[in-house]
Assembly symmetry: C2
């Protein structure tokens, strides 16, 4: 891959430095767009159908009828990977309503903005090294997750200030433990939260407003496969702090151990469930993509 | 003014069609930006100091330290108006954190994105015609306003999906009546709400999460000047529907009468308080800008 990657922007492959949108694009003006973060392993997008389905759900929630089929989007992603000679990559697919006259009420879409951005991301997994520099450290933050009544909880949109404000509160931590308005643990800003105690594996239920992560779902399947008891429930930060193991999941990080929650240390070298699930996850990637 | 206006984009005047930002701009990726909608009358920005102060408050809330003084921003706005030979105009000033590497956690800003977009907007006011086509019609929507605990209520940001979703619910109405999570009337999606009954003028208190509009504040000053009793309180949609007069305020609309709320009609030709406040507002514009 060259120093400057090629992005796919509105139907064309262009050098990333030339991939631009109008300042009148609704994505820029209002964050009026949907996105997915994807990961290519060996040139294959892992869990593409699940990501494509969630993108469709987000677009449905926003009424963002962009007119591109799943196959067309996959083709643009593949073309971008090929142009950059990339097989192991981070991929971000964004779709906005494009430029419309300066009114807030959206009109039917004539020219949506579709962007595929990529960068190299060496494989972690069975034999590689993880993408994260080390285990995560977390801090419970004051800012609360936006409730579903205000923005659909399952929609992955370009409105990300809530997470940015959560991240800005962090001191000596790199991911926020975000609660809902009632104080229940919801998620990280870009990740789902899991913890392990004597009862088994726990993660917040989607009845608390959480983004239903695709990695979260795959990890739950891996746990079921391994016979680990799983509870999706309502938790307080103290439940996380008192756990035996804590980890985070997202498409980029896969499974990332947590070494610190609100100053409480966790020994990530003695985290057998995290290690087992990481191995099972890597095996799934292996089977699906290589 | 030419067909294509000039925008001011990152320090340069460029044709609007060439005013672009990188798809890696945090404004595009995350809606990570602040903005103000301004109005120029006779070449002068009305209530510039108040808008500049609110922009500073928004940037403070987002930790968006862009390094441009109030005077520098005013200069760019004036340069844009002059380049377009515009005296009566709508102006939108946007500032984002610019392009940073692909992480959510913001870094210190090195190159913020600063955009001034303009379009002609003939004066309404004392002798002109209002910018709105006619009185507004409102509908109470299901989507609720994002609480201050999730996004600072007073911050005017590029995260506008909440308002877009509210607008999408409308049938035969052009502005939403948006409630907070407790069901109290907060605001419209781009406007503050006022109503008049036998007790005087009412508008939701800023203790309900509302954006403290600058037009709202000027209208409250006009009401005080005219000796109209004002209550800033907690209201339900039924209070609005049972009022004698209803109107909306924002910088572009100034004071816009409301003819319909949830199917209940209001006679905007028999709305003496709305008419009085509109005249007093126009007089303020006259004194300040001409």
């Amino acid at each position: 891959m060259t120093d400057t990657p090629y992005y796919h922007c509105n139907g064309e492959l262009v050098p990333a430095t030339e991939a631009t949108v109008s300042v009148d694009d609704r994505g820029f003006r209002y964050g009026d767009g949907a996105f997915e973060t994807l990961r290519a392993y060996g040139g294959t997008i892992f869990e593409w159908d699940a990501h494509a389905e969630r993108l469709e759900d987000t677009c449905e929630a926003l009424g963002l009828d962009h007119g591109h089929s799943r196959a067309e989007l996959a083709e643009r992603i593949n073309a971008t990977l090929e142009a950059n000679e990339l097989e192991e990559a981070y991929v971000r697919l964004s779709i906005t309503r494009g430029v419309q006259s300066g009114k807030l009420t959206p009109k039917p879409i004539t020219e949506p903005t579709v962007v595929v951005a990529v960068k190299p991301l060496p494989r972690g997994g069975l034999e590689g090294v993880p993408v994260w520099d080390g285990p995560a450290s977390m801090q419970t933050v004051k800012v609360r997750r936006i409730p579903d009544a205000c923005l659909p909880a399952g929609a992955k949109t370009h409105n990300y200030l809530n997470g940015i404000l959560a991240r800005r509160e962090l001191h000596d931590a790199d991911e926020a433990l975000v609660r809902d308005l009632e104080g229940y643990v919801a998620e990280g800003t870009t990740s789902n939260v899991f913890f392990v105690d004597e009862e088994g594996l726990h993660t917040p239920t989607t009845q608390v407003d959480v983004l239903p992560g695709i990695t979260r779902r795959v990890v739950l399947e891996c746990a079921e496969e391994a016979g680990i008891p799983v509870t999706e429930g309502w938790y307080r930060p103290v439940d996380v702090r008192q756990a035996d193991e804590v980890f985070l999941t997202n498409t980029t990080w896969e499974i990332r151990p947590v070494a610190l929650v609100d100053g409480i240390e966790f020994d990530t070298d003695a985290a057998p469930v995290t290690a087992l699930l990481s191995r099972l996850y890597a095996e799934r990637v292996e089977q699906a993509c290589y």
